[in-house]
Amino acid sequence: MTTNGKLYQRFSPFHRITHFLLIISFFGLVLTGMPLAFQDQAWARWLYETMGGHPTAGYIHRICAGMTFFCAFMHFAYCSYLALVKRHAANIIWGADAIMIQPRDVKDIVADLKWLLGFGPRPAFDRWIYWEKFEYLSLLWGTFVMALTGLMLWFPTTFSIFLPGWAIDMGLIAHRYEAILAAAFVFTIHFIHTHLLPEKVPVDEAMFTGIVSEEEMLHERPRHHKRLKEANLLKKYETVPNVPLSIISKIIAVPLLLIGLFLTSLMVSSLLLSLI
């Protein structure tokens, strides 16, 4: 991040803290859960023992699940606050500031494809880019599936009061493959979108410091910048650099990135080896 030029606040402390909690819980869940899906691999056994083995790894998994539930709860509490107190309900689902998919996104996708294939300029995105919206929605869906199936596996006898035993087995399969999908998606696609592009590598600090430079904003989301400028809101979001937080975010994010990439390489290589 360049320090000359104006800086703007992109994420509020609320979002940064819940995202950080989500990171911690997600890594806890993946590190203690993934060995089960790859049980026949030596690294899985090593990882399982490193995470405390039976039953410690299971307890860590459940504690992290609780953290995820808490994040989900906080998110919906925040949405309710926006809708009920601030009366912004319409803005959440419709408009340029909404995170739900809009007709405009179809145009953006076409423009993006043109740019990717070399037929056009870099598209001018607004506050949320279409793949960010997709990632948000898949996080919602993924958390719902993982929470439901996870609870089924946590309390199988309770669920068997109204579900047949094989429905719980379906829950295990959904839990396993949704986990592999989520972990691999976050550790590759999400990491590439946010941190690993040549212009961002190694870490995009926006989600940790909450700060984005004017230059970055004009490069990535010029439409958002234009909107704020026209509404005379840019001044409101202006902020000062936060060097200690920037350093801390690098120290925390780089190892997590490496762990994620390493885990993905283990998963992919195990998958390929099992196909041979």
Binding site: L36, E49, S160, F162, G165, I189, I192, H193
Partner: protein
């Protein structure tokens, strides 16, 4: 000094055995005739790689001739249940056809009879189990004691099912023959955990659900996992398990080709309703759906991310960040 005759009597009840020993002791003292070989006598050859390291052996069933190693590890034997026993068993107690034979013996000994004189108790249950009955119906040789039990190689004094060492061997042992079932068990939570090395009785192995000597086929209502005993068997760990709970599929087959082949066969014979009648189909459906979602998500977004990475790099080289201005 060990000189009483042991062969053939060690399996009788303790009192009867000591009584016999008592008589035999007197028989020996009064100028007895019976002198049996010590372990050391056998080890003279079976401890010498030059003598028995490579010997020809004819397979009892197929008649195939193989070169085998007939070395015996005396230390291992002394650590096994038989070796540690107070009875002080020696080789000929089990290999009875060698009693009184010195020097070189015939190449193929009789099969060791574990049951008749010693282990007649579990054997009675075993002989009524599916392992014997069903396999005889199919004209196959039922498994012998040593196919599952390690016999002279067992490294523990008491072969109790609760012992972690023995628990660690159960799945492997059953899996030698029941390969498919071991694989499908590992597809499920129980198997996942035991493969990861959780050997306590918190995670069931084959034996915990199916039973041991008295094992019956799972479609027999009287088997541990049959209709009459399912609730009880699951309830050993899952307190409160009821009629619904036991519809659990302990051996999900969605990762085996056989399942899909059979499902297709059912489909051609009975139509889609026939396939849907088997809950295994629902598991396979979830699996196939997820494989599709995963493949689609990664081909789309993987391709997108790769292109974006390349395009960003190209734009940076050109300067101006790719914008028109």
């Amino acid at each position: 000094m060990r000189a009483r005759k042991r062969a053939g009597i060690s399996g009788l009840s303790i009192s009867l055995r000591s009584l016999l020993a008592f008589f035999l002791f007197f028989a020996f003292c009064s100028g007895g005739l019976v002198i049996a070989q010590e372990i050391e006598d056998c080890m003279e050859c079976h401890g010498d790689p030059e003598k028995v390291g490579r010997v020809a052996r004819v397979d009892r069933e197929t008649g195939e001739v193989k070169v085998v190693n007939m070395l015996v590890e005396q230390d291992a034997f002394m650590q096994s249940a038989h070796g540690r026993s107070k009875e002080g068993f020696v080789c000929i107690d089990c290999h009875q056809d060698l009693d009184g034979v010195y020097g070189e013996h015939k190449p193929l000994l009789n099969t060791v009879d574990c049951i008749t004189f010693c282990h007649d108790d579990p054997a009675a249950e075993f002989l009524e189990s599916t392992h014997v009955e069903h396999m005889k119906e199919k004209e196959k040789t039922p498994p012998r004691c040593t196919d599952c039990h390690m016999g002279k190689n067992s490294a523990r004094e008491t072969p109790v099912a609760e012992d972690a060492f023995h628990r660690s061997n159960v799945n492997k042992t059953c899996g030698q023959c029941h390969e498919d079932y071991l694989f499908t068990y590992c597809t499920n939570m129980h198997g996942q955990l035991s493969t990861l090395g959780v050997l306590t009785d918190e995670v069931p192995n084959c034996y915990d659900c199916h039973g041991g000597h008295d094992i019956l086929k799972s479609d027999n209502p009287d088997s541990n996992v049959g209709e009459n005993h399912k609730v009880e068997t699951c309830g050993k760990c899952h307190t409160g398990a009821g009629k619904n709970f036991v519809k659990h599929i302990a051996h999900p087959a969605f990762k085996t080709r056989k399942f899909y082949a059979e499902a297709y066969k059912t489909f051609t014979e009975k139509g889609i309703l026939g396939v849907l009648a088997d809950p295994q189909s629902y598991l396979a459906l979830v699996f196939v759906l997820y494989m599709g979602i995963i493949a689609q998500a990664f081909s789309m977004f993987g391709g997108h991310a790769l292109l974006m990475w390349i395009r960003t790099l190209l734009d940076e080289r050109k300067g101006g960040g790719g914008h028109d201005h």
